[in-house]
């Protein structure tokens, strides 16, 4: 039976850190089913009652995480280059029940969803628009694998910055007895797969958390051909988000279309800005309610304060946050990113003058894009904007 645990933090959690702290509490202990941070404290929903030393242990871990994230944190200055949240939209109900009832969304497991024909066509519509955006930059098309070598992620410090969201890949050891043992004894129940010990090979590979990394790795340790590059790709991305996984809003396995720029600083920043303006024109055409605001990546606890403040100070990341009328909140459906010369330095990608290349990308989460649209326009295609309906329903 589940139980609640109330904790009063020893430090005050500023409002701008509330959601970050709440999301990180998911990783504090496996006993935590839900976490809520409000003005009056922290409420944890636990798998079972925690008493005595176990309760003390949980409280200590929560206090430690909160203190690490809050003490000495820089207050970010939120920049909002576009604000169209007040655009009127025709729908305000929660689309999830309708998506489930119509077979347009089916949950295979936590964070893993299949989507039906209408949502698939809607995603294809958005995908077509983002490919057109990429074409407007003359972006070269690429295809990248879902797997990514561990040594690549190590080289860009990913294990330190985002350990909580990693998804590992392995295989059985090339050993006849180990394979036989697995075949005989592996068993799956609702908690997962139970396997004989020593079955698996060392992790050499993970599921890729982003699309653009593959391009940067392909350019590593050599001069950048032509001195600048625009590229585009769509790919499966994997970010484990524990109890924060929810519906099409927050999936473990999702798809992103990215437009990627590599070259001198001005080339990257100018194209990021041009991409933002062209995307704004598209969103205006379909009447999407959204705003663009500065943001930071979800770094893990130890790295959070410094990295997030750095991103904020240098305006490295802007999120496209679409309105979700049914919950009076917003959802990040895309982002405009500038990495300075981080990848150029880390991966030794050089410009003709020998300096490290700068990189940036415009990224769209396709399932989230479709979900936000459905949250604003519903599943009744008659109420959709003409441009979307005609394309999705083949009326053109």
């Amino acid at each position: 039976m589940t139980a609640q645990l109330q904790i009063t933090p020893t430090v005050t959690i500023p409002e701008h850190l509330t959601s970050e702290v709440q999301s990180k509490l998911a990783y504090v202990d496996e006993a935590i089913l839900r976490a809520r941070v409000a003005g009056d404290g922290i409420t944890l929903e636990l798998r079972e009652q925690a008493t005595g030393s176990r309760r003390g242990e949980l409280e200590e871990k929560v206090q430690r995480v909160v203190t690490m994230m809050v003490q000495g944190a820089f207050r970010p200055k939120v920049q909002i280059p576009e604000d169209h949240l007040d655009r009127p939209v025709p729908y305000s109900a929660d689309p999830n029940p309708d998506l489930l009832a119509r077979g347009e969304m089916f949950q295979e497991a936590s964070g893993i969803y299949t989507v039906g024909p209408l949502v698939t066509r809607l995603i294809a519509f958005f995908e077509g628009q983002f490919v057109a955006l990429a074409d407007s930059f003359g972006a070269a098309p690429y295809r990248f694998p879902a797997l990514i070598p561990a040594r690549y992620l190590e080289r860009v410090n990913y294990f330190r910055a985002f350990p909580h969201s990693l998804t590992f890949v392995t295989h059985l050891r090339e050993d006849l007895e180990a394979i036989d043992d697995f075949a005989q004894h592996a068993a799956c129940d609702e908690h997962g797969l139970t396997t004989p010990s020593g079955s698996f090979a060392k992790f050499q590979t993970l599921l890729s958390p982003a699309v653009c990394y593959h391009l940067y790795f392909s350019l590593a340790d050599k001069p950048l051909p032509g001195g600048q590059l625009a590229a585009t790709a769509v790919g499966n991305c994997f970010r484990y988000e524990s109890i924060n996984l929810a519906s099409l809003e927050r999936m473990w396995n999702f798809t992103m279309r990215e437009v990627i720029f590599v070259g001198p600083k001005d080339f990257v920043l100018q194209n990021r800005e041009t991409g933002r303006q062209r995307t704004a024109e598209f969103f205006e055409k379909i009447g999407l309610a959204y705003r663009v605001e500065s943001a930071n990546d979800p770094f893990f606890i130890g790295e959070f304060k410094k990295q997030a403040a750095f991103q904020s100070a240098f305006q490295l990341k802007f999120e496209i946050r679409a309105k979700l009328p049914f919950k009076d909140s917003t959802l990040a459906v895309g982002s405009y990113n500038y990495h300075q010369d981080f990848f150029g330095r880390s991966l030794n990608i050089t410009l003709p003058d020998g300096s490290p290349a700068h990189t940036g990308c415009i990224a769209f989460g396709l399932e989230r894009m479709a979900f936000a649209f459905l949250a604003q326009f519903g599943l009744d295609v008659v109420k959709w904007p003409d441009a979307v309906r005609k394309s999705v329903m083949g009326e053109e």
């Binding site: 990295q307 403040a309 100070a313 240098f314 300075q340 010369d341 330095r345």
Partner: protein
């Protein structure tokens, strides 16, 4: 008496965990492998701690060289606190 530039060089060396000889007066962000994003924020945190001056996100992006940090600390509003 230690000058402001020497104080700043020493502080940056401490934050980046390198010998002070590696921090010339003309050094700027990215001029040393250790002065990356994490290194920069380490410098900012130590600046706050040692000099007792608030470093908000508006100025973090401007304090990207030894000279810029010195200039910031020498502004009249801070010079009293920093003893310069």
């Amino acid at each position: 008496m230690e000058t402001m530039i020497e104080k700043v060089q020493a502080l940056i060396a401490e934050a980046l965990q390198v010998p002070v000889e590696q921090i010339p007066p003309e050094l700027a962000f990215g001029g040393l492998k250790q002065w990356d994003s994490m290194g920069h924020m380490g410098i900012m945190l130590l600046l706050e701690e040692r000099f007792g001056v608030p470093i908000d996100t508006d100025v973090i992006a401007t304090l990207t060289s030894v000279a810029a940090i010195c200039k910031y600390l020498e502004e009249p509003v801070f010079s009293e606190k920093t003893g310069s």
